[in-house]
Amino acid sequence: MSKAIVAMGLPESGKTTFLAALWHLLTNQKVPVRLRLEKLAAEEATYLRAIATRWAQARKQERTFHSGNKTIKLTLKSAAGEVFDLTFPDIAGEAFSQMWEMRECTIAVADALRATGVLLFIHIDKIKPPGWIADDVALAATLEVTPAVADAGAASDSPAGVPADSSAGTPVEGQAGGSVVWKPESSPTQVQLVDMLRCLQVPPLNIGPRKLALVLSAWDKVEHDEVSPERYLELHLPLLHQYLSHGLTAGWSHRIFGVSAQGAEYDDAKGAPSAEADRMRDMEVPSQRIKVVVGETTSHDLTEPVNWLLE
């Protein structure tokens, strides 16, 4: 028996890290999980081993864009004893950006997007919010400071610690203040994701009702805020939250997961070792780095969103 899910998300949304941690979890069997690995043999096993090794070493994953799209096939066993093959394509986030920017995708991506189970990844540290000049002017007046404009204004779009978006557009020659023309990639994250979900509900990608597991990755960064994943989505991606509750076609169901597959900020491939990464390496059971939050419950079981999609 064969089942398929698709992992979607804009670039650097945590898809490959999720897959690396999932493979580690399934092969090490150190924490209780809902789905078990039936056979060690898997398609793209070398790739899985490579990304799981980087994960175990607490090192950042290479971008899928550079390493190439992979389609993984795992043989899993459910708690009820059902054995099945799970197809899980690891597609570069650029393929999904292209859906918004170019209104097209490759045939292979389109085939993958016809799966009945959809994992949609959002990296909570890489959410691009809409930001309004009028709000900046009002805030500056309240604080009695000069409003930030041009480059400084664009930089304030980015969450702390994230480089300013460089894709906003190109300066218009001869226009005062160096304003830039609109480019699709400068649109807010929530707008791009709503459009992506809409594309799954109309031809040529429509296959009828599906299950959608929305994964808020890097959840460790907000776990001390004591908000549920659902509430976080409502606060930080309100347009997407409204769309999930009222816009999806009848028959669709969704669930929101807060997932920390990495556990903490890792060393960059070229960066100096971080204390957080050392703390992760120091853990006796690496699988315990993983945290999965649904509503009020927390576990180390990264198979939970996958299992829910396949139920």
Binding site: M99, E101, M102, R103, E104, C105, T106, I107, A110, P130, G131, W132, I133, A134, D135, D136, V137, A138, A141, V149, A150, G153, A154, S156, D157, A168, G169, P171, V172, G174, Q175, A176, G177, G178, S179, V180, V181, W182, K183, P184, S186, S187, P188, Q190, V191, V194, D195, R198, C199, P203, P204, L205, P238, L239, H241, Q242, Y243, S245, H246, G247
Partner: protein, 344 residues
């Protein structure tokens, strides 16, 4: 010398031919026109990559503004409210459309929840010059393209309901509507007017501050409506919204604000006096969709306007018709059945 004078004649309204014929397209004295003397900023439109590249894979549905045919298909497929925005060049039509969409970026608005849109790219384009990403110092607005009206689409769900209702926001260049004042027959071709559930006429707040221009604001509204009436472009079941735009600019002028607001109320009264019988309802609104000053918060007045736009379409409301009982000419026909006590 003559060449130097020719260079000096300029106007920031791209449709104005003042440089060629010396006349203001809006019929103003050159000294009174707010566009005359300002440089026309030509921003090269981004060439669509999708149009130049051959499709290598699977084409996905577009997310641009709908054409008339696409809007008609949507009207057939789901409940829709059509909102037509009418106003001269730079009166704030695109600002209103972009402003109402942008309010949903924060959450539900005025009892309505965002439930989708098939025109997200056009909304984003319309909003760009009000966003930080544009790197502008003050909010601006994309100019409405000339040609047939286009439609931006929002699916909304009212609180407590499960049914989606689409808002189709019709946008057409201001020049087209103003041309109808001198050539009313043009209005009969503006199909968005026939089908509109809410006709929205804009009064530019900035112009109301100018003692000379404010009278033209009144004329633009009343003469445009009259042209629509004369050509039968509107319907008696339609609602009319008269909207004061750029409220922030009005409130920013402390000394002249009150007078401008009173003048606006006078315009609304004129509209009621002349056109009440042609509409099922007339209401006025004051909005600041994308303020350039801090005198009004972004979105001021937009919630009430959205509610009005999404009012149940009056042409779908059941009307009470008087019961007409035909009187038979023959005596036999006037006989009534006898009521029986045991009749159930």
């Amino acid at each position: 010398m003559a060449e130097a004078e020719e260079v000096a004649v300029q106007c920031d309204n791209p449709d104005c031919k003042v440089a060629q014929d010396g006349r203001c397209i809006e019929g103003q004295e050159l000294s009174a026109c707010t566009h005359y003397g300002k440089a026309l900023v030509i921003v090269e439109r981004q060439t669509s990559t999708t149009a130049t590249l051959p499709p290598p894979g699977v084409r996905l549905p577009g997310a641009e503004a709908l054409t008339r045919g696409e809007a008609q298909a949507m009207l057939r497929g789901q409940p829709c409210n059509v909102i037509s925005l009418v106003g001269p060049f730079d009166s704030g039509k695109t600002s209103l459309i972009a402003g109402v969409y942008d309010l949903f970026q924060h959450g539900p608005v005025g009892g309505y929840v965002f439930a989708g849109s098939s025109t997200l790219r056009s909304f984003e384009l319309a909003c760009h010059d009000t966003r930080r990403a544009s790197k502008r110092k003050t909010p601006g607005m994309e100019r409405t393209q000339t040609g047939d009206a286009t439609y931006l689409h929002l699916d909304l769900v009212a609180t407590g309901s499960d049914e989606k209702r689409a808002a189709l926001l019709a946008n057409r260049s201001g020049e087209d509507y103003m041309d109808a004042q001198s050539e009313p027959a043009l209005a009969s071709a503006y199909v968005e007017l026939h089908r509109a559930d809410v006709l929205t006429l804009l009064a530019d707040g900035k112009r109301l501050l100018d003692l000379g221009l404010r009278h033209q604001v009144r004329d633009d509204i009343c003469l445009t409506l009259r042209a629509f009436m004369e050509t039968g472009a509107t319907r008696p079941w339609q609602r009319l919204a008269v909207v004061l735009t750029k409220l922030d600019a009005v409130l920013n002028e402390d000394a002249r604000a009150e007078r401008a607001l009173q003048f606006f109320e006078g315009i609304v009264q004129d509209v009621r006096d002349q056109f009440t019988e042609h509409f099922i309802e007339i209401q006025s609104f004051r909005v600041a969709a994308s303020p350039q000053s801090v005198k009004a918060a972004r979105g001021t007045g937009m919630v009430d306007l959205l509610r009005y736009w999404m009012s149940p379409p009056a042409h779908l409301q059941p009307r009470k018709e008087p019961v007409v009982t035909p009187t038979a000419t023959r005596s036999f026909g006037r006989l009534r059945p006898q009521e029986r006590a045991d009749h159930e």
